[in-house]
Subunit: 260 residues, 2 copies
């Protein structure tokens, strides 16, 4: 068999939301490259395999290691939660490959690795499903991390999300060192949509300690959000409805209002 | 057990990408409401259940029927391909529930139905994974159907996608009666990003007759696209790379260029 690298998204956390293809790829691998917490979610399927754990923040080293292991002939799985193609490790693998193709790396052996990317359910989808149908119409995602993207670019995107009236899901809303970005994002969106626009805060989605809150846009505050929280802001038509003890948020699929 | 309605996304087509929770919910149901083609993909798990097939276009009737069946005590599954929360049936269920809560419907029995939404992998994720990592940075989705959304709203969103430099995935890019919208969308995006921006055309993704083409934005033409095609347009940084017989598209996760 050709040298193989599986690049696998394991979904939001619940084992019942992991694609069979992702599990089969894990099973076919001898070497796993992942942040430790993701592997803990998977349980027995990882037993007996070599774990290569690098700390959070060492993303480039992880992508290199995965390519190196696969190039050495080890069936390798690079693993993340959510969809590994969305703000996650997959893009680094191809960025490294691109560097090699341009002659900026010295790892021709990487070019012989057969890569298979397996998508997973992303946090925004888990959040939307838990509260009903928040992503029922046009939406966008914005990472609020300005480590790799200049804040001016992020701010321009926030205004574009506002003018386009997209439902917005924020990835990396805060970190231990960053907290002002989320409140600035809120203030920008408030220039374009009503204060009562529903916002969903989904923490540890689909896991045992899941918590979900539905608030108004003008109540959104970075102090209520941590690294494990997905923040989704409705568009100007999104509705928060209450049926007894159950609350839902949905975004209608049309703007013509004569649907029903 | 309380009257139960499962609202289930079955993913892009490949049975290996269906979440175990989705299959379990199908198995627990006696009545299935779906467009016939989706059920064909599932095979044996649907045997012995009552199929309620309504034609495409009868979306509201399907959502009503699903709520009615569940309210009658039948364990019911409302099923679509992809993620049922993204441009699909889930939002109609909650829109009907909302109408009832507002007294505009006369179906109080709907309010006693316990609803569980199960997300699935959407077409844009399948396309991105097949070509590498197209959704590696901020992205948006836009439906080009102007049946329910005025074209002016869609056009505004296209400009916002342009100013924000989002990767853009088009849902409902064309239909039998609509074809000019996609070319107009292309021309709008060309005002904001280079002619050589990579575009992925993914048809029947993850299915036996899957076909994937990678073209330039200025080559995008509605005549090459049908209802079964997902169209994703890169942002200004997205890269199309060729490694021997393999082609990839990825979107770098940052704009600072000093990543590697």
């Amino acid at each position: 068999m050709q040298n193989k690298l599986f690049v696998i998204g394991m979904g939001p956390g619940d084992a019942q939301l992991v694609a069979p293809r992702a599990l089969a790829a894990l099973e076919a691998s001898t070497d796993l490259v992942a942040y430790g917490l993701y592997l803990d979610l998977l349980g027995g399927v990882c037993d007996g395999k070599t774990h290569h754990q690098l700390p959070l923040g060492e993303e480039i080293a992880r992508a290199r290691l995965a390519l190196d292991l696969a190039a050495q002939g080890k069936a390798t799985a690079l693993v993340s939660s959510g969809d590994i193609g969305i703000y996650a490790m997959a893009t680094l693998v191809f960025e490294l490959l691109d560097q090699q193709l341009q002659g900026k790396e010295n790892h021709p052996e990487w070019l012989d690795v057969e890569i298979e990317v397996i998508p997973g359910i992303s946090a925004m989808q888990a959040a939307a499903s838990r509260v009903g149908a928040m992503l029922g119409h046009d939406f966008c995602t914005i990472s609020l991390s300005d480590l790799l993207t200049p804040w001016e670019t992020i701010e321009k995107r926030l205004h574009s999300a506002g003018t386009g009236d997209f439902v917005v899901s924020f990835y990396n809303p805060v970190s231990k060192k960053r907290n002002w970005q989320l409140n600035t994002a809120r203030d920008i969106l408030l220039q374009y949509r009503p204060a009562e626009t529903p916002v969903v805060l989904g923490r540890q989605l689909t896991r045992d300690d899941e918590s979900i809150r539905i608030i108004r846009l003008d109540e959104l505050d970075a102090k209520d959000v941590d690294m494990f929280t997905l923040v989704s802001v409705g568009n100007s038509e999104s509705r928060h409805i209450v049926n007894g003890s159950r609350e839902w948020v949905y975004t209608p699929r049309g703007y013509k209002k004569k649907l029903l």
